[in-house]
Amino acid sequence: MLTIKDLHASIGDKEILKGINLTVNPGEVHAIMGPNGSGKSTLSAVLAGKETFTVTSGEVKFQGEDLLALAPEERSWRGIFLGFQYPIEIPGVTNVNFMKTALNEHRKHQGLPPITAAEFLKLMRQKMEIVEMDHSFSSRGVNVGFSGGEKKRNEIFQMAMLEPKLAILDETDSGLDVDALRIVATGVNKLKRPDNATVVITHYQRLLDYIVPDVVHILYKGRIIKTAGKELALEVEQRGYDWLIKEL
């Protein structure tokens, strides 16, 4: 589904990703862990097409297509979803209007007519239940005045609405209390299907108690320094990253 080969990316003169190699297959859950500043968020932003970063070399194929040649919205239409670490507030634009516009652009790309108002409201209600979101959120401005936990739930709700093929969740667990973490993680699990994949970026093992990864990667200074099964996350939790760095 996703193949990253020797990906290098910088911001200004500073190289942040220094040769990433990664393959994600349908049905898999990958976790990417690593200390602060290792390039985890940069990797997710580059995959989503944020133009603040410049890709200097390497290639990214998504379902056989050159992902790096596509605009952010085109990547979204093809099924890439980024759960933001810090979801953005858009005052004046209601959640309903935002999601309806997004969904209809996706449908347009698939050659489908715009969704009817009744169908949309029904769909929205179903998907809100997945993250136990109150209906009152639909008429509020996108993320405006939402608590940290509400923002993250809203991200997963949007993911549920758009049904992406590849969801990249950037520190979705940060700033969540235990209950919110459980709700968010349960939501992600409910959306799991054999034909989609998830990349979870996290600092902590605790999220991985709920979203169990098939593969765990350790990112350090812009490179993946170790890849193993889910037990690697537990080991990192107990021993930290130092032993891995020393192994280099």
């Binding site: 989503a48 603040t52 952010p72 507030e89 858009i90 005052p91 935002f98 516009t101």
Partner: protein, 476 residues
């Protein structure tokens, strides 16, 4: 760095920029007493109106163009403008040139009553004359007068004489004096006592002829206990030259009456380099004359190279209420200096100002407002909110609020915000599959929603599209 995310979207064409080829009659260029007399004579006006015009002209000659606005106005040569242009009448007296009917059809303003938007009567003004006023007869059954200004002068001279310049005195300002001297046509509307106008009344102003100015005059009188909702739209062809539009609108609201006045201003704004476009210098003012009268202004300003416009209300009657809702968009090299004046004279008068400025490109957008509470205006209340939204970093947004209170019981509140559409907001939208263009439209319409919601339904939809179109090519 700041704008790298925001890439250029192809410039959209101004959609109403076409020109109609009709046989037109022109007066010679330039302005002098003879031209003023010619206009009056051409319209077969009574002597008092000719004198009104001549007095205005003499006043205007002694006046200077105002320079206090935050605008860079190129020198305007008033002798290089044609002050009267009218399509020639075809053979019979009643017939309208089919080209004109086609023009208004193309603008979405059918002059055929059978094709008209439901519940809306239109007075269509083409350059200096009114081409047709629809639904006149059915409105007349209720005693409502809705016709062109020229017809009103002919058919209801006593009403016109009573109210003309009663709200905007001839010498109020440079442009009102100019308009009073050379105004050609516009709409007149009178709602009798206790009548609720069953349709939206609207005027559509079209500038077509090259080198001409448009000087329309509109007068609305809502008698005691009546109600009317009035709409105004305007467009012009796309040209490299600037054209002058200097209108005067006067509204009189008697006791217990209510007037809603909405404008969707879409004059040609000039091209992306700042060539051409309309100079829009307009004086609009209403008076809440009687007790418990209400006047509501809503304006969506997207057009014109230069906009100088302050729809204002004199709250004379006790307990009278006025509200002003405005969205002003400037893009490319457009300049707008717009706002309102709320003059509280009566007791327990209330006013509310919601102004939303949106600046993009290299444009300059200013809000200018005055809230004045006179000594006898006990318990006057005002709430003002002025928001500015910036797209990009080469445009300007300015706010010039003036507050003058001579009565200690007044409560006046003013709030202002300035915000910017950020790269992060755009990226967030795009990541969800919303293209950049639609994202800007979504955010801007969300920002302007409070004002757009005040417009009648059909216009609200139009205005939303217009906001988006006006801002195309603004990011980058």
């Amino acid at each position: 760095m700041a704008n790298e995310v925001l890439h250029d979207i192809t410039n959209s064409e101004y959609r109403h920029g076409f020109e109609t080829l009709v046989n037109q009659e022109f007066f010679p260029k330039g302005l002098n007493e003879d031209i003023v007399r010619m206009i009056s004579e051409r319209k077969q006006e009574p002597q008092w109106l000719l004198e009104f015009r001549l007095e205005a002209f003499r006043k205007w000659q002694k006046m200077k163009m105002p320079t206090w606005a935050h605008l860079r106005i190129p020198e305007i040569d008033y002798q290089d403008i044609i002050y009267f242009a009218a399509p020639k009448k075809p053979k019979t007296e009643e017939e309208i040139d089919p080209e004109l009917i086609k023009t208004f059809d193309k603008l979405g303003i059918p002059l055929d009553e059978r094709k008209a938007l439901s519940g809306m009567a239109v007075d269509a003004v083409f350059d200096s004359v009114s081409v047709k006023t629809t639904f006149r007869e059915s409105l007349a059954e209720k005693g409502i007068i809705f016709c062109s200004f020229s017809e009103a002068v002919r058919d209801y001279p006593e009403l016109v004489r009573k109210y003309l310049a009663s709200v905007v005195p001839v010498g109020d300002n440079f442009f009102s004096a100019l308009n009073s001297a050379v105004f050609s046509d516009g709409s007149f509307c009178y709602i009798p006592k206790g009548v609720r106008c069953p349709m939206e009344l609207s005027s559509y102003f079209r500038i077509n002829a090259r080198g001409t100015g448009q000087f329309e005059r509109t007068l609305i009188v809502a008698d005691e206990g009546s109600y009317v909702s009035y709409l105004e739209g305007c467009t012009a062809p796309q040209r490299d030259e600037n054209q002058l539009h200097a209108a005067v609108v006067e509204i009189v609201v008697m006791a217990d009456a209510e007037v809603k006045y909405s404008t969707v201003q879409n004059w040609y704004p000039g091209d992306s380099e700042g060539r051409g476009g309309i100079f829009n210098f307009v004086t609009k003012r209403g008076i809440c004359k009687g007790n418990n009268s209400r006047l509501f202004w809503t304006q969506v300003e997207t057009g014109s190279a230069i906009t100088w416009k302050y729809p204002s209300t004199i709250l004379k009657g006790d307990n009278s209420v006025s509200e002003f809702y405005s969205v002003a968009v400037t893009n490319h090299h457009q300049q707008a200096d717009t706002g309102t004046k709320m003059i509280h004279l009566g007791k327990n008068t209330r006013s509310r100002i919601i102004s939303k400025g949106i600046s993009a490109g290299r444009s300059e957008n200013s809000y200018r407002g005055l809230v004045r509470v006179a000594r006898n205006a006990e318990n006057a209340r005002n709430y003002s909110q002025c928001d500015s939204l910036l797209l990009g970093d080469r445009c300007g947004a300015h706010t010039f609020p003036f507050i003058q209170s001579d009565n200690p019981s007044a409560i006046i509140e003013h709030e202002a915000t300035t915000s910017k559409i950020s790269e992060d907001q755009l990226f967030y939208c795009r990541q969800r599959g919303i293209s950049e263009e639609n994202a800007v439209g979504l955010i801007v319409n969300g920002y302007a929603k409070e004002v757009i919601n005040q417009l009648p339904m059909e216009f609200a939809v139009e205005a939303q599209k217009l906001l988006q179109v006006s801002l195309e090519g603004s990011v980058g």
